[in-house]
Symmetry: C2
Subunit: 144 residues, 2 copies
Amino acid sequence: MSVVLQRLEEALCASGRRLTMQRRLILKELAEADGHLDTVALCDRVRVGDPSISLATVYRTLTVLKELGLVEEHNLGQERSHYKVMLGDPHHHFVCLLCGKVIEFDTPLVAQIEQELSEREGISVVHTDLHATGYCADCSRAVD
Amino acid sequence: MSVVLQRLEEALCASGRRLTMQRRLILKELAEADGHLDTVALCDRVRVGDPSISLATVYRTLTVLKELGLVEEHNLGQERSHYKVMLGDPHHHFVCLLCGKVIEFDTPLVAQIEQELSEREGISVVHTDLHATGYCADCSRAVD
DNA sequence: GTCCATGCAAACTGTTTGCACGCGC
DNA sequence: GCGCGTGCAAACAGTTTGCATGGAC
């Protein structure tokens, strides 16, 4: 069992909520997903373990996880919301305007911006979210 | 008539689309709104000028404006999408978590990030939106 | 045994679309 | 006059919720 899954389960129990089989499966898939999952994709993967799990349960579990700050919801311009486990390094997103592909990246320049901003404005930056849009390599070629 | 409104109307005409009364009203409200507007707020304001304008028209017009790159859609975690006119220099936002104050800023580092990202991933970045949160100078002092 | 969590289906909300009419060009 | 743009209402998609049952504690 991965350490991420373990931490998710512990946090859920610590909040006084019950660790049901459905939640266990949902946490497992979230922990194993390396990228973002939307609600339907998550539900599909969870149903491999138990086909009777309903989409409503997935939504309710995600709501709980958001409340606990264990998971982050992103609206990247697509039809459905995407969710990602927040344990791990912060990162940013590039979304292709044509095919919707999401590329995650991180760069020390963001920290540099935060520092510059803090000094210039006398503010205290807690979190920075960078969202780039454009055309991915494949779609750039297709346009030519 | 503001220069922003004028540029919006010109851009719409230049794209070969018709400048109807409804679109005129929608562009006017978008140009006058200093902050972000969601679809319903925009429709309400437009209906002051003409109560018969439908929400569908607002959505259709916003879709056109998005296609032309005149307006940007933001999903800031709220129920509805927000839209903002994109004319003028690009800039980014810092929002104070306590008092809600918004500080607009720009930094060459963002362009640097775009370039780095383009080269590393082989992508073509069209637009980058940076959204920082934290505590403004006043609120930082209040917390101490 | 208590009561939270679930499955189901229906309700809800934001957004899109089909259609006939009307207006910009 | 042609054809895009509009209003209306219905359709749609994602998400939430009411209710009775079942399982975690």
